[in-house]
């Protein structure tokens, strides 16, 4: 046969053409696999990202809570008996809207009483803070707390300190008078209370004075 070589070439072309659909199919399967792999990988990345976002949000929110001391408006419920532990309600405001509103305005009940009463270190810290930066809120807090703990000497002391900073805090005057009466200095208590009544004409002070005089 003289034309075997051209025939072989023709056969090679034929085989390539015959295999083409298989190559196309394999190529298609490979491309599809790569696409599926990429999509799955992106899906995992997104879920990780979402998780880290959530973590970040939690961290940010916790940070914002930690840094809320300056921004928290602490309000005490007015009470007839200031000796009773008040429930302190804290208003949390949205500090940063960029944290996607994860932090919502809510009232969080913070139980200072339970924590502070059992930990004398806190008193020390507040006392230390007062010496560094006198503050009627701190001294008033200490006066109140010591009175509840029946440490009348200290409560009288801290009431006096409060009156030195701000002589218009009625509770401080009342705690001072009661503390003095408790430690046996009734006359002193009456004298100080009378002096306050002259100044403020407070009904509450008048009632207390009457009680001290009768008892």
């Amino acid at each position: 046969m003289y034309d075997i070589k051209p025939l072989e070439k023709e056969w090679n072309k034929y085989k390539k053409k015959q295999r083409r659909p298989y190559y196309i199919l394999i190529g298609f399967v490979l491309i599809l696999s790569v696409i599926i792999f990429i999509l799955k990988f992106k899906g995992i990345s997104l879920s990780n990202l979402n998780k880290s976002d959530t973590d970040e949000n939690i961290t940010k929110s916790s940070l914002s809570i930690n840094h809320k001391t300056k921004d928290i408006n602490v309000t005490t419920k007015p009470s007839n008996n200031p000796m009773n532990p008040d429930d302190v309600f804290v208003d949390e405001k949205v500090l940063n809207s960029s944290i996607s509103g994860n932090i919502k305005k809510s009232k969080v009940k913070i139980d200072f009483e339970i924590n502070d009463a059992n930990d004398p270190k806190i008193y020390k810290e507040i006392e230390k803070r007062f010496t560094q930066s006198p503050n009627s809120d701190d001294s008033m807090f200490l006066s109140r707390m010591y009175y509840n703990k029946k440490n009348y000497h200290k409560s009288a002391y801290w009431s006096l300190e409060t009156n030195k900073i701000n002589g218009n805090i009625e509770e401080s005057w009342l705690i001072f008078a009661k503390s003095k009466a408790k430690i046996g200095q009734k006359n002193e208590a009456i004298r100080v209370l009378s002096k306050y009544i002259n100044k403020s004409d407070s009904l509450e002070a008048k009632r207390l004075l009457k009680t001290l005089k009768n008892n």
């Binding site: 046969m1 075997i4 025939l7 023709e10 056969w11 072309k13 034929y14 085989k15």
Partner: protein, 270 residues
């Protein structure tokens, strides 16, 4: 050194030699049907099928088998010349040659055939009958009416089959035998038997079922196309056997060679 494939190649040279006849289930069925039809009092038997379905070799076979029992004659090449046809026919009837220049009168021929009725029954096998024109076929029809000559007309199956549709011809065809392309198993048997006839066992065994599936697919089961393809396959194998023996295997027929042969013959394209 002569390649073993040279002998295999020659097995598939296309011929209608009766010695090359292969008995297959389908061909045997057709043979038996034809043999039975010939015995019936029929005027004309139509044997038709696509080229390469084995019409000619069947006619040859039946002539070879019945020549000692009946007056059966095989007209292989169609004689388009009417004069030559009648000369041939007359020779069969009177069993001797007519002088060359003798004109055969058709009417006389008809009368002579009528006189033979009941005394002789002559069977004429007309191959490639599609080449006879309408006028010729009409005369053949008239000769069959004498009932002393029975014609077996073999022709290609036409698309519109107008020859069969003609009323005067149709009424005279009492039997129609159709030959079709073979099934895969028959084709496999055909190839194997042809090779085994020449003691080429190893080559026959080297052709596997998958190869046969492809061969049948590209040849559509046609014997002539199969002969061409097998011849080409062994021609290519012969070349490799002589020049590049590394590319040939005696145990299995390389698919590449079969596909190359199919490409060469145009059964498949790039």
């Amino acid at each position: 050194m002569i390649s073993r494939y040279q002998a295999a190649k020659n097995v598939f040279v296309d011929s209608i030699d009766v010695d090359d006849y292969i008995e297959l289930d389908t061909s045997m069925a057709a043979y038996k049907q034809l043999e039975y039809s010939i015995t019936k009092p029929l005027k004309m038997i139509l044997l038709f099928g696509k080229p390469g379905t084995g019409k000619s070799i069947l006619l040859n076979r039946i002539e070879d088998k019945l020549k000692h029992q009946k007056e059966i004659h095989y007209f292989e090449t169609p004689t388009v010349n009417e004069k030559e046809f009648f000369h041939k026919l007359f020779k069969v009837l009177i069993k001797k040659d007519l002088p060359r220049n003798t004109e055969v009168n058709f009417s006389t021929l008809i009368d002579f055939c009528k006189s033979l009725r009941g005394k002789r029954e002559i069977i004429i096998l007309l191959d490639e009958a599609q080449m006879y024109d309408a006028e010729m076929m009409e005369k053949i029809r008239l000769l069959s009416d004498t009932r002393s000559i029975k014609f077996v007309v073999a022709l290609h199956k036409t698309e519109d089959e107008d020859l069969i549709a003609k009323e005067h011809f149709q009424s005279r065809i009492w039997e129609i035998i159709e030959l079709k392309n073979s099934a895969k198993d028959d084709l496999k048997t055909y190839i194997h038997k042809k090779l085994l006839k020449k003691n080429l066992f190893e080559i026959a065994n080297a052709i596997k079922d998958n190869d046969m599936k492809f061969i049948h697919k590209v040849t559509k089961g046609n014997f002539r196309e199969c002969n061409k393809l097998m011849f080409t396959i062994f021609e290519i194998s012969e070349y490799y056997d002589e020049n590049e023996p590394g590319k040939i295997s005696y145990e299995t027929m390389p698919k590449k060679i079969i596909e190359m042969a199919a490409l060469k013959l145009g059964y498949i394209n790039v």
